[in-house]
């Protein structure tokens, strides 16, 4: 089946099995290796991408269901001012350790802040509740998102 969508702003067409995981198409066909496979069953969030601005687990998304959608991976997002705000805030707060979960957390932060630019701590924890980090203990990540939200004129 031919499937059309945009990835990081570029229109693409793939001719593939529609049940292939979006994760595999993004990594193997497009080389976006910032999309990680952790659990492979929608529990850990390492494979998170944005589909039409909403956070989605690419490991349980059949590529055929994103026909006509706009997909954003960390590689596309990193060229934005918002990314730089989150990057700086995460560095300052110590929100990154091994880095495997980080692309997912950054995109979860974006998905949250674009809807809710001034989230409470509870709302931040809710927003990242689909993502697991086994290094930081989450405090640094939550702190980082709080700081990023304070960036003037970004959200």
């Amino acid at each position: 089946m031919k499937i059309k969508f945009t990835v990081n702003g570029r229109p693409e067409t793939v001719d593939t099995d529609p049940m292939r995981r979006l994760l595999d198409v993004l990594r193997d066909d497009f080389g976006f290796l910032g999309v990680k496979e952790g659990c492979g069953e929608g529990e850990c969030g390492a494979c998170s991408v944005l589909v039409n601005g909403e956070i989605v687990f690419s490991c349980i998304t059949p590529v055929g269901t994103v026909e006509g959608s706009e997909i954003l991976t960390i590689e596309g997002y990193r060229n934005t001012e918002r990314y730089r705000a989150i990057e700086a805030a995460m560095e300052e707060a110590g929100g990154v350790q091994c880095g495997f979960c980080t692309p997912g957390f950054v995109l979860a932060a974006e998905a949250l802040l674009r809807k809710n630019p001034h989230p409470s701590e509870d709302e931040i924890r809710e927003g990242i509740s689909g993502n697991l980090c086994r290094c930081t203990g989450y405090s640094g990540i939550v702190e980082g998102i709080k700081k990023a939200a304070e960036s003037e004129g970004v959200w």
Binding site: D17, P18, M19, G40, I60, T65, S129, G130
Partner: protein, 287 residues
């Protein structure tokens, strides 16, 4: 030899019905359950072993319509979409905010939760308590089935090979309050050990309506209209002393299993406590 899945992406509900009749393809809405069920080793394509019918994109299945007597929810409406709809009952919204995680709620659908028919399906006790009915369609027409007659066992339901779940119909009813509780190991992404939905209506000091539905403690959702009847219209003063006794009437209906998530004893014990706490709260309400 790697074989490709046979997948259909119909342009309309009509075409979906036809494809379902002709091929018996498996309907897939968000895929959050099916992609896990049919997953293979990392990198390999999930393979359900039968044709697949994508229906999640169909506008006719992705809508919420409020009518005078009922709210009709398209089966492929995502959980996230339901949260933004005024017409969706608060108890269902509460249940959804405790269901999985935001990325799952952006893709998962209430129709999928129903057709998956897991005893631990989070929305099921709520939909039972609300006395929902389901509109099942095929190429020839539609039929409507109450949810408690649709789900017949773990993973088993009354959906025919040529049918698609089209709508969930929630009748409007007056309630004084509601309660939804989910017992799980952690707040996000937990599969329920027990889920509990309670609704009640109190008028002039009497319980006029009470509905208790419990998930994950039997092959299908537990609800007993017989026990509920013993609570309705009895003056609250005479009920007050016996909430533990009333909860104990549910004991024969609570038949949980021991699995990786919990044990028979824990589930049965905690379920009775949840019922008792709900009854106590109801009886203490002013009204």
């Amino acid at each position: 030899m790697v074989t490709q899945n046979v997948v259909y992406r119909p342009g309309s509900l009509e075409e979906a019905y036809r494809l379902r009749t002709d091929t018996g393809a498996l309907p897939l809405a968000g895929g959050t359950d099916l992609m896990v069920r049919y997953r293979k080793t990392a990198g390999l394509v999930p393979d359900p072993g039968r044709p697949v019918l994508f229906i999640g994109h169909l506008k006719d299945l992705r809508r919420v319509e409020e009518r005078a007597e009922e709210v009709r929810i398209g089966s492929c409406t995502t959980y996230t979409e339901l949260l933004s709809q005024k017409a969706v009952p608060e108890i269902l919204k509460r249940c959804i905010t405790l269901l999985a995680s935001p990325p799952i709620r952006n893709r998962g659908t209430v129709g999928g939760n129903i057709c998956n028919s897991s005893p631990a399906g989070d929305t099921l006790p709520v939909l039972h308590a609300l006395e929902c009915s389901l509109v099942l369609g095929n190429i020839r027409g539609e039929r409507t089935v109450p949810i408690d007659r649709f789900i017949t066992g773990p993973g088993e339901n009354a959906l025919s090979e040529d049918e698609i779940l089209k709508e969930i119909v929630i009748p409007k009813a007056a309630f004084s309050g509601w309660c939804y509780r989910k017992i799980g190991t952690r707040r996000a992404n937990a599969l329920a050990k027990i889920s509990f939905a309670g609704l009640y209506l109190i008028e002039s000091g009497e319980v006029h309506d009470i509905r208790i539905a419990i998930g994950a403690v039997a092959p299908t959702v537990v609800r007993s209209r017989e026990i509920e009847k013993t609570i309705i219209r009895i003056p609250r003063t005479s009920l007050q002393r016996s909430t533990v006794e009333m909860a104990a009437r549910y004991r024969p209906l609570i038949r949980p299993i021991t699995d990786q998530r919990s044990t028979t004893g824990y589930r049965a014990g905690v379920t009775l406590v949840l019922i008792e706490q709900f009854l106590t709260a109801v009886l203490q309400k002013k009204g």
